[in-house]
């Protein structure tokens, strides 16, 4: 269950093509830079258990500045320690694990739900379309933060509920994109061919329509991954995120922000971490869009 393998969930049955498109990335330096930023965090998150790090929740010595060599156990706090004496480097890396796992899970679930809604609404049309579009319009009328607050305060702040909240907030938007793509694709010859062969609507939707809609969806998925990362950190910041004590980038900022006047690094480090990860997703999306425009 690493974040990396989940990344592929957004392009079902297109694994091989996914790798060819990774090869295409060479055309865009922006995309490569974005991908390296993401991989940097993914690799750190995967290696976190075997890296020589302090326990992220262990109180060591409070308020050490970065590269302070005066640790009593001859160690070095590369990024210093926080107000409770926990090693910030270790917390940032373990926080990366949390945010990557939950952001990819939430985005993947939102995508599965949104794609199913979109393909059903677009292909079957009629009442299916009316009902699904109406529900989507209702959900899209909510300011997203209101959805998050209602769902999380009502059901409690657990990982599952955060995934649920992200799904509620994102699936309608994904549904709209997929529906639009499917409305265009359903008039293609290969769909008529499949219908003539007597394939079931389910087969046509899953095997014929969705894989052919993947181009714009991959770009959108990258953007959404970045946005979901922000959302999860924001919920952590607002006190609606994953329960303590495990490190969470947003909560790290919230906890240490009042102490910024004499130990600013405590909040700046997680802020840099989240910005760089989101930048990675956004640049990758930008590069991918550029590549797809060239064809």
């Amino acid at each position: 269950m690493t974040a990396e393998t989940q990344n592929n969930d957004t392009t079902p049955s297109a694994l091989g093509k996914f790798f060819t498109s990774v090869g295409l990335l060479r055309e865009s330096p922006i995309a490569i830079f974005g991908l390296s930023l993401i991989l940097f965090w993914v690799i750190l998150a995967i290696l976190a258990p075997i890296l020589p790090l302090y326990d992220p929740n262990a109180p060591l010595e409070p308020f050490k500045f970065p590269l302070d060599g005066s640790a009593k156990n001859d160690g070095l706090y590369w990024l210093g320690t926080d107000h409770k004496g926990r090693d910030i480097l270790s917390r940032v890396i373990f926080g990366a694990q949390q945010v990557l796992v939950w952001a990819t899970t939430a985005t993947a679930v939102a995508y599965i739900v949104g794609m199913l809604m979109g393909v059903v609404a677009g292909y079957l049309g009629g009442w299916w379309d009316e009902v699904i579009s109406f529900i989507s319009n209702i959900l899209l009328s909510f300011p997203v933060i209101v959805l998050y607050i209602i769902i999380i305060t009502y059901l409690g702040a657990t990982g599952f509920n955060i995934v649920l909240a992200v799904t509620f907030a994102s699936a309608p938007g994904i549904m709209r994109i997929v529906r639009g793509l499917v409305l265009d694709l359903r008039t293609r010859d290969y769909i008529f061919a499949a219908q003539t062969r007597g394939e079931s609507p389910l087969y046509i939707m899953i095997v014929e329509l969705l894989p052919n809609a993947r181009g714009p969806l991959i770009v959108d998925a990258c953007l959404r991954l970045g946005y979901t990362t922000i959302t999860i950190a924001m919920l952590g910041y607002l006190g609606l995120g994953l329960p303590p004590p495990d490190p969470d980038w947003g909560k790290m900022i919230a906890e240490t922000q009042p102490l910024g006047s004499f130990a600013g690094h405590m909040a700046v480090v997680p802020a840099v971490a989240i910005s760089s990860l989101v930048l990675g997703f956004n640049l990758l999306a930008d590069g991918l869009r550029e590549i797809s425009m060239k064809d």
């Binding site: 009328s141 300011p143 607050i149 209602i150 305060t153 910024g260 802020a271 997703f281 640049l283 930008d286």
Partner: protein, 310 residues
């Protein structure tokens, strides 16, 4: 035009009805839980039932919903549990504060993003285009709580130019509101700038612009008179619809800078379990969002010369 507006209005009203009913069902279908929230965790079941009886909670659900909606439309949202005062008395001033914040944000964000977007879109692929595109990706990648951290580290702690909070205890202060607005603009302008850029770039490739240039009209005049009007239709919709997710940023900024606004009230209400505050705030937030969609739809059709009404 009137028919279109009327149809939009009906669908807006329908959405409001469905949403308010859903909200009411989520928050108030469990009567005993409501009484428990109002009377506190140490009240017993008898007290709660007595309270329910006294406050008309034993009416049928649908009837209670209508009473609630009717009261809400008159501006009566019940009493806040946390502040022991009518929700309306607390909420409207807070909404005013947030309107100031959002207004200032719009005031700076709109000219900035439109100018940058137009400059970038004028010449696709040029240096200024690349600079604006990369710059806006950079700023939209830094969420509000991160950029607020950076700005306070620099402007508050290192340089000491601005105060780190915007609690406005001594009345309105420009110095205090500067950083919150800066944070919102930094995160928000990129999206509109990119939309404007795309729209402008599309207009610049159209035939009538080429014709205008070939006729020998000065370039500046082509941009100002011919391109801008069409290029700014799409950004208009984007700007209005921003209200919908501006609230997320506003909540973060209000919490970060301790600004007494609507978003912080909603969040505090939610964390405290202040049921009538949550109801009132979500209702108002959704109304603003739905109404802005209505405005953007109508505005788009009015602005777009290609849509004609006969």
């Amino acid at each position: 035009m009137l028919i279109l507006a009327a149809r939009r209005f009906v669908s807006m009203a329908l959405i409001m009805v469905v949403i308010s009913f859903t909200l009411f069902a989520i928050f108030e279908s469990d009567k005993l839980a409501v009484a428990g929230k109002v009377l506190g965790p140490y009240s017993n079941t008898e007290q709660r039932e007595l309270w329910l009886e006294q406050n008309g909670y034993n009416e049928p659900f649908v009837e209670r919903y209508f009473t609630w909606v009717f009261n809400a439309m008159r501006g009566d949202f019940g009493d806040s549990i946390q502040f022991k005062a009518p929700v309306a008395d607390i909420m409207w001033p807070r909404l005013g504060n947030t309107a100031i914040l959002a207004g200032l944000y719009m005031l700076f964000m709109i000219p900035l993003s439109l100018t940058l977007g137009v400059i970038a879109g004028m010449k696709e692929g040029s240096f200024q285009d690349r600079a604006v595109s990369v710059g806006s990706v950079l700023t939209t990648s830094v969420p509000e709580f991160a950029s607020a951290t950076f700005f306070t580290a620099v402007f508050v702690f290192a340089l000491g130019w601005f105060p780190g909070t915007a609690a406005m205890t001594d009345g309105f202060s420009w110095a205090e509101i500067f950083l919150p607005v800066l944070v919102l603009v930094m995160y928000g302008f990129g999206y509109t700038a990119r939309m404007t850029r795309a729209s402008m770039a599309e207009v610049m490739t159209s035939h009538y612009i080429r014709t205008a240039v070939l006729k020998g009209i000065p370039y500046r005049r082509v941009i100002m008179k011919h391109a801008l009007r069409n290029a700014l239709i799409a950004p208009f919709t984007v700007i209005i619809l921003q209200l919908n997710w501006l609230l997320s940023g506003v909540i973060v900024v209000e919490v970060f800078f301790a600004y007494k606004g609507f978003g912080k009230l909603l969040l505090d209400g939610a964390l405290f379990g202040d049921i009538y505050v949550i109801e009132a705030c979500t209702l108002v937030a959704v109304f603003v969002a739905v109404f802005s969609q209505f405005i953007s739809d109508i505005g788009y059709t009015l602005l777009n010369p290609r849509i004609r009404f006969t």
